[in-house]
């Protein structure tokens, strides 16, 4: 299905999607020297949503804005910021939308309540099914 989708995305590549001529941000395509920091940055980038491309994380997009966001993430991690702080910083600007990792809040609680409910229902089903002797 993704193929079909991309096919159309390719067809619809409208001129309004003009690109800038600037080189990518310094840390858009450059890893941090400290492998531990880079791993933390990578993990965070995979859970942040590219705002231009909408259905990709910033870790797998070539959009220049995604590159600028990767740059932000890497330099902040290098400066010793905590990944969660960086996520919070972005979420205070773009809301829940920018993070693929929903946090429990007034708008997202059903995402967590329903799976718990499912566990309970599954448990009940098994109990009912197997405690009654045939």
């Amino acid at each position: 299905m993704r193929m079909l989708a991309l096919l159309l995305a390719a067809m619809l590549a409208a001129p309004s999607a003009a690109q800038d001529a600037m080189p990518p941000a310094p840390f858009a395509y450059r890893q941090l020297d400290d492998p531990e920091q880079e791993a933390a940055a990578q993990e965070l980038m995979e859970t942040l949503r590219c705002l231009k491309c909408q259905s990709q994380s910033i870790a797998d997009s070539d959009a220049s804005m995604a590159g600028d966001m990767r740059h932000q993430v890497r330099i902040r991690i290098a400066a010793g910021e905590d990944p969660d702080e960086i996520r919070q910083w972005l979420m205070s600007r773009y809301g829940d939308y920018v993070s693929y990792e929903p946090v429990m809040s007034t708008t997202t609680w059903p995402l967590f309540a329903i799976p718990v409910l499912l566990v309970l229902i599954a448990g009940l089903l098994f109990r009912r099914r197997f405690t009654r002797r045939p």
């Binding site: 299905m1 993704r2 193929m3 390719a10 995402l111």
Partner: protein, 651 residues
């Protein structure tokens, strides 16, 4: 003229669908011996032929590039190679819907022609349901997406010469998924038929099973191929993104998997009647839902189809009619259908029940995560649900299911005792624990990949245990199918866990002659050369790569710039070894004379797709085994009937 023949055939087919539906309903009312009831089956068969003619006409106008047909003018071009002219016939909304009804009508013709096991009343109800479903799609085609529409002025040249879209994968992928969806629609018709006549019997499950298996094989192949395509085409090494469009193809697969297992309980043991019916309805509704989500563009996705609210409305209307109707029928009827045979906790049925509940729970989680952003948007709040949600929440249900999946096939039907298979259970548990501890000590990876690796090892061994102590030649084909499919799942799980735990990434800015490493590979950028294609220019990086002291190989990933439409793509190069893949991407240039090169070493990543292929192969074997069994049973039945007739004659 050709287009008009196609359109006329389509209208006639629609009329026959009405006849099929009315005939089936009247047969239910007035008894199966009435004249009109005799027309139901021929109507279905003739309809299959007519739609096939209609589709052949569409292929024809595409083959000769008849530019007076709007669809051809919009989507084809005289200079395209023939194979892509033909595949262009279904590479658009109208043509793909025609392909859908074609497959559906042929499936309808097939069941009308050969299915004789079920009581005639159930059969009539099934065909009526099938006609009803088909009629909706005919209406959709004829009223709002006519593929044979003419232009008042023939176009001078077609608009569809985009070499980006001339890809054999793109040509084959959609039909694969459609075959799957249509197979599920047949299962749906059977479920509705059985519900109407309250004949939820093992025979019903046996009649339905080949269609589920076939659909499941196609869906498995479709998802596997789609995932590999995304992996090599997108240029970032990801193979699954939990994108709404991907989820739309995964959900029918999950439902079909559950349905497959519950139908096999019903076929063998006459249990889980209501549950099987429910899953039959759910599986088809997931296909319809997926089509709706993708085509209506209701979920924000850059991957949205050529979106059209009118089409969305139409599909939603069909969805409401079919699924709403079926669920209403379910609510009214299901209470009067008894659950069937009982079984104890230690039995294969019980294991399959657990499997079913867990699969349904995973389906519910995927559905919830996919639709949740839609729900909050109604309140003007936008949220994103992605891998950090789906992976752990899905895992909560997946891993318990895998435990049961390892043990279940070893259990006997109805009632068994744990003592009988205690050795096997101990073996699997010991393997699981050993693998878990070993992986944790050796690699110390994150929890999910760790669980994935150890469960994959234990499940791979456990899936082979049903063959233990049996003569391999005597094992039924269907059992081989199960063993291979379960083993394939373990293989795929191993690939996923390994990719997640051991992948190495290297983003390097290299001068010509510069070197870097990724995992066990040493990489040197020898040169960067410009290349010109028919409508693109590219930078090709000549990379010299060597695996741990082996002979170096030359590869040349490209970064391509297309002129019309202006677009940049990456042509990544994959180097496959038995133990993994090197993934090389050439980035666009950087200013200071150094070139961006993206490299990944992904150990055992190929196992994901090998596993997918094994699963599909398992499904295919099961299908062959079941159909052969059905045919054998049919001949036996016929011989018995003959002998009875002989005996009666003698008497």
């Amino acid at each position: 003229m050709i287009a008009e023949i196609g359109l006329a055939a389509l209208w006639l087919a629609a009329a026959l669908a009405v006849l099929q539906m009315v005939g089936g309903v009247l047969a239910l009312r007035g008894g199966t011996e009435s004249e009109i009831a005799g027309l139901t089956r021929p109507a279905a068969i003739l309809q299959g032929g007519l739609v096939a003619v209609s589709f052949a006409m569409l292929l024809w106008v595409f083959a000769i590039t008849d530019l007076s047909v709007k669809l051809v003018a919009m989507n084809s071009h005289t200079l395209k190679p023939l194979i892509f002219k033909l595949s262009g016939a279904w590479g658009n909304h109208e043509g793909s819907m025609l392909l859908w009804v074609t497959v559906m009508a042929l499936a309808g013709a097939l069941i009308a022609g050969i299915e004789r096991r079920l009581p005639e009343r159930t059969m009539q109800a099934t065909l009526a349901a099938q006609g009803f479903v088909a009629l909706g799609f005919y209406a959709f085609l004829l009223l709002s997406s006519n593929p044979f529409e003419r232009l008042s002025q023939p176009a001078v040249e077609g608009l569809g010469l985009n070499p980006l879209l001339q890809d054999i994968g793109l040509a084959l992928h959609p039909p694969t998924l459609y075959f799957g969806y249509v197979g599920l629609s047949v299962a749906f018709s059977f479920a509705v038929g059985a519900l109407v006549t309250r004949q939820v019997t093992p025979d019903f499950a046996r009649a339905m099973r080949p269609w589920i298996l076939g659909a499941w094989v196609f869906l498995t192949l479709g998802i596997t191929a789609g995932s590999y395509w995304a992996y090599y085409e997108l240029g970032w090494g990801g193979y699954w993104f939990w994108d709404p469009v991907e989820n739309a193809s995964l959900m029918p697969w999950l439902a079909a998997t559950a349905l497959l297992h519950s139908a096999s309980v019903l076929a063998s043991r006459d249990a889980l009647r209501v549950w099987t019916i429910m899953l039959g309805v759910v599986a088809f509704s997931m296909s319809m839902l997926g089509t709706f989500l993708v085509r209506s563009g209701i979920l924000t996705s850059v991957h949205a189809f050529a979106v059209d609210p009118e089409r969305g409305t139409f599909i939603l209307f069909l969805l409401a009619l079919y699924i709403g109707g079926a669920l209403l029928l379910f609510a009214l009827r299901a209470g009067s259908i008894t659950e069937g045979e009982r079984f104890s906790l230690a039995s294969r049925e019980a294991a399959l029940v657990v499997n079913n509940v867990m699969l349904s729970a995973i389906l519910a989680v995927v559905l919830l995560g996919t639709l949740y952003p839609l729900l909050t948007e109604a309140f003007d709040v936008r949220v994103s649900v992605g891998p950090p949600y789906f992976n752990p929440v899905g895992a909560v249900f997946l891993f318990p299911m895998l435990v049961v999946m390892a043990v279940g096939p070893l259990l006997r039907w109805r009632q068994d005792n744990w003592g009988r298979i205690s050795k096997e259970i101990a073996l699997v548990a010991a393997l699981l624990l050993a693998a878990l501890i070993l992986c944790a000590v050796l690699f110390g990876a994150a929890l999910l990949p760790l669980l994935g690796l150890s469960f994959a090892v234990a499940l791979a061994v456990a899936s082979l245990l049903p063959l233990r102590g049996r003569s391999l030649r005597r094992v039924p084909v269907a059992t081989w199918g199960m063993v291979i499919a379960h083993f394939g799942l373990a293989v795929a799980l191993f690939g996923m866990a390994s990719e997640s735990a051991f992948s190495k990434e290297r983003l390097a800015a290299l001068e010509e002659g510069g070197t870097t490493t990724v995992g066990p590979w040493a990489v040197q950028l020898d040169a960067v050369e410009p290349i010109a294609g028919p409508n693109w220019t590219a930078l090709a990086g000549q990379l010299n790569i060597a695996y741990k002291g082996e002979e170096p190989i030359q590869i040349a990933p490209q970064s391509r710039n297309f002129w019309a439409p202006p677009q940049q793509t990456t042509e990544s190069v994959l180097v496959t070894r038995w133990n993994g893949q090197l993934y090389a991407v050439m980035g666009s240039d950087s200013t200071d004379g150094r070139w961006q090169v993206r490299l990944w070493w992904k150990p055992f990543v190929t196992f994901i797709w090998y596993g997918g292929i094994l699963v599909a192969l398992g499904g295919l074997l099961a299908l062959i085994g079941r159909v052969r069994g059905d045919l054998r049973r049919r001949t036996i039945r016929r011989k018995l009937a003959l002998r009875r007739m002989d005996e009666e004659a003698i008497a």
